[in-house]
């Protein structure tokens, strides 16, 4: 007889209380949205049944935007306003973008993140990405007939802090409650691991449209632990297209091309690449605007030889990850292939040769990331009862550090540290009476600051006058579960408060985000207050729900007075939630958060105590 499972009260929401949560794979070439339906992860298709959404956004006069297939169809006729592969520009400056000369856009050269001038005005990559996310959110809301309570958005594991922050900002701008940024290979490992009940050490080889990741994970029942991750955030299927494009230009002896022709030939190169996956030879023909006909054919041998260096380039990070994990090829039980570019036979061959085993291709490399993200979103939304969920332990891909004298980077948190993580470092003054200190936060493995990514600069002011070396400034790096860095600094010898102003090098300042939000509301003829009101209402409801559930589980940790204070704060939130004053709701939310701070700490202590008690009982 089957055993019926009964969950603890408050632990497992009834089906009708399940929160709608989605996983989004925001890809360089294509994007997808997936959810878990009756326990099964599924990709949500559009109204025509197509699962993929091409990551293409076309801006029109008047501020409107087309996304997906409609935009893709126009890319050759309207290249300047049709943005493809925007993921390559996320959190990047103009000088970081490869093949700028072959990109048919009007770049705006401004400090910080690169921007594009379009028919609808100057757009940042964050805004372009948010259009893609908005389209996916709408698709999901129609398909699930309800509003989405939260989303997990995937990012390449090798994305640095600026690229991650940009992705999270895009999610917020699209009106999503971003539950978590999840690394793409980790998402794939979840989908693969659960589907196949995999145990042991696995490598995930993820070659997407624009990025390459290699993660090594230890899978055991209920735990996904990333041991090491490596990659190249500027290497992907696009580069193979680019090689083929350059080859075609050379073979046909073409003069410098107009943006339209450039885009057309790039599209044809991609088609030829895809054709070569299943054929020995592919035609590459295009009619240029001058009337000239490009008529070429390429065989797979030639294609392999012009892309050999790209394939080899992926193996460096593979070796590095193995070294970081202190593992050898023999320790790897299987290699999961992810990303459309892994369909290329030369990639399959190189991986098989390196790992001395056939790679695992039994999941659709285009969908596996979105499916894994949906499964994680389902857990984060609290839709899985405890015991049926899993623990995910991920790492930061690149070391975080700070600039010291002589332009050297001092590592504060080394790469492959399990997140969340924090580390504090003390700094001192260089001159007598020095009143301020400026800090430069960098990310990367190189010794010289100039060779690392600049993340942010900030200044600490108001240090009381002291002799050189007497002030003690404690800088704390905190990396959260999204892999995002938060830096705080404090002068500790006197306890004097000092102010910190962070200027992100490639991110967006708060003011930028505000402007984008305002713009997007103007276009939608929305009202800021209505938006804020609805957001705070959702937040408030969520907080009430979470607090009540915490009280029913662990209310005994509070004495009568403490309980009364929290109950009062709950009541003070319930009242404004019925009204329409968003400020009052915000205040009541903050008050309830403050009132439950001590309770939250005690619940964590209790959780740890129970975890250890359980172990002792188990070992008796």
């Amino acid at each position: 007889m089957a055993l019926l499972q009964i969950s603890e009260p408050g632990m497992s929401p009834a089906p009708h209380e399940q929160r709608l949560a989605v996983g989004i794979d925001l890809g360089t070439t294509n994007s997808l949205v997936a959810t878990v339906r009756s326990g099964v992860p599924v990709v949500l298709p559009d109204s025509l049944g197509r699962p993929l959404l091409p990551s293409v956004v076309r801006y029109l006069q008047g501020g409107k935007a087309e996304v997906g297939y409609a935009a893709q169809a126009k890319q050759a006729v309207d290249p300047k306003n049709t943005v493809v592969s925007v993921k390559r520009f996320m959190g990047r400056g103009l000088k970081d973008v490869a093949h700028v000369e072959n990109a048919p856009y009007d770049f705006v050269d401004a400090p910080g993140m690169v921007q594009l001038r379009t028919a609808a005005g100057v757009k940042s990559p964050v805004e372009v990405s948010s259009e893609i996310l908005k389209a996916l959110r709408e698709r999901a809301e129609i398909s699930l007939s309800g509003s989405i309570s939260g989303a997990v958005i995937t990012v390449p594991a090798y994305f640095d802090d600026a690229q991650r922050q940009a992705t999270k900002d895009a999610g917020k701008l699209a009106g999503l409650n971003v539950l978590r940024l999840l690394n793409e290979p980790t998402a794939a490992a979840i989908a693969y691991g659960l589907e196949n009940a995999a145990e042991g050490v696995y490598a995930v080889y993820d070659l997407g449209g624009g990025t390459f990741d290699l993660s090594i994970l230890r899978l055991s029942r209920g735990v996904f632990e990333v041991v090491a991750t490596s990659g190249d955030s500027m290497l992907g299927g696009d580069d193979f297209d680019q090689r083929l494009f350059c080859w075609a230009v050379e073979q046909a002896k073409l003069p410098p091309l107009a943006p339209r022709d450039m885009r057309l030939l790039q599209m044809k190169a991609r088609e030829a690449k895809e054709y070569l996956t299943f054929h020995g030879e592919a035609p590459l023909t295009a009619k240029l605007s001058s009337g000239e006909l490009v008529d070429l054919a390429i065989d797979s041998e030639t294609f392999c030889s012009i892309t050999q260096t790209l394939v080899n380039k992926t193996l460096g990070p593979v070796r590095k990850a193995l070294r970081d994990a202190s593992l050898t090829v023999e320790d790897i039980k299987g290699v999961v292939m992810v990303g459309g570019a892994t369909r290329m036979p030369q990639v399959q061959r190189a991986v098989a040769e390196f790992f001395r085993r056939d790679p695992l291709n039994n999941l659709d490399p285009d969908k596996v990331v979105a499916l894994g993200a949906a499964m994680q979103a389902n857990v984060l939304a609290g839709n899985k009862p405890q015991g049926e969920d899993w623990l995910l332990l991920d790492v930061i891909p690149l070391s975080l550090g700070i600039e010291t004298m002589g332009g050297l980077a001092e590592k504060i948190i080394p790469r492959n540290t399990t997140i969340p993580a924090a580390k504090a470092q003390e700094f001192t003054t260089f001159k007598d009476g020095q009143a301020g200190m400026s800090f430069h936060v960098v990310q990367g493995e190189r010794e010289l600051v100039a060779d690392c990514r600049s993340l942010a600069r900030f200044e600490l002011k108001g240090i009381p006058p002291m002799a050189a070396g007497a002030a003690r400034v404690r800088v704390t790096f905190q990396v959260d579960a999204d892999g995002l860095l938060h830096v705080t600094a404090r002068e500790s010898s006197t306890g004097a408060e000092a102010s910190v102003a962070v200027k992100p090098s490639y991110g967006l300042a708060d003011a930028d985000i505000e402007r984008m939000l305002r713009d997007s509301f103007e276009h939608a003829r929305d009202d800021m207050h209505a938006r804020a009101l609805s957001e705070y209402r959702v937040d408030g409801q969520r907080l009430l729900e979470a607090t009540r559930s915490a009280l029913s589980q662990d209310g005994r940790l509070l004495d009568d007075g403490e309980r009364r204070a929290i109950d009062e704060a709950i009541q003070s939130l319930e009242k404004p939630l019925k009204g329409s004053d968003h400020r009052a709701i915000k205040q009541a939310i903050d008050a309830l958060n403050r009132a439950t701070e001590e309770f939250a700490q005690r619940r964590m202590d209790e959780g740890i105590r129970r975890a250890l008690a359980g172990k002792r009982i188990g070992s008796l």
Binding site: S149, G150, K320, L380, L391, T418, A546, T547, A600, M604
Partner: protein, 171 residues
């Protein structure tokens, strides 16, 4: 503050039951990890972040022999003082010099197999030293002696990191 050992309910010894550590780590993480609180209020999410950070740090320290030894010595008021106490037995220094010369030679010749051999030799030395540290801390309770051995182990760790860099340069 609680020691890292207390946090996991383990005895404060250099000789560590790795499985017990891993089990305690996972059991605690499964209760405090931010993934459990993605829909909770700010206060709980903050507490979860703090705790997970603390647990990760403790786990990182205990897993690593150098960090674990340093932590035990700190609990006994002994500072390893790697940066300031540079006095090392001359035979050890001589040995280090030879290893480094070998590293440079391997790097010059871009010879990965020599790096492999060097690493194997280094691992052998590391194992011996770890045995000695365990003996000094857990059996003899001679923390000063242990501090000297930990400094040696830190030397070896540095060399290990340099070997990693050498592999990268050769590729």
């Amino acid at each position: 503050m609680q020691s890292h050992f207390e946090l996991f309910g383990l005895p404060p010894a250099f000789g560590l039951d790795k499985q017990a550590l891993e089990k305690a780590y996972r059991e605690i993480q499964s209760r405090v990890h931010p993934d459990r609180f993605a829909h909770a209020g700010d206060a709980e999410r903050r507490a979860s972040l703090q705790w997970t950070t603390r647990v990760n740090e403790a786990y990182r320290v205990l897993k690593d022999p150098v960090q674990r030894a340093k932590h035990i010595l700190e609990l006994h008021g002994v500072d390893v003082a790697f940066e300031t106490n540079t006095h090392m037995p001359s035979d050890f220094l001589l040995q280090q010099l030879e290893l480094r010369e070998e590293l440079e030679a391997a790097l010059r010749k871009k010879d990965a197999s020599r790096l492999d051999a060097l690493r194997t030799a280094l691992y052998g030395q590391t194992c011996v030293l770890e045995g000695q540290i365990g003996d000094a801390i857990d059996r003899k309770k001679d923390f000063e002696e242990a501090a000297g051995q930990v400094r040696k182990l830190m030397f070896l760790d540095r060399l290990d990191a340099e070997i990693d860099e050498a592999y990268e340069e050769i590729e």
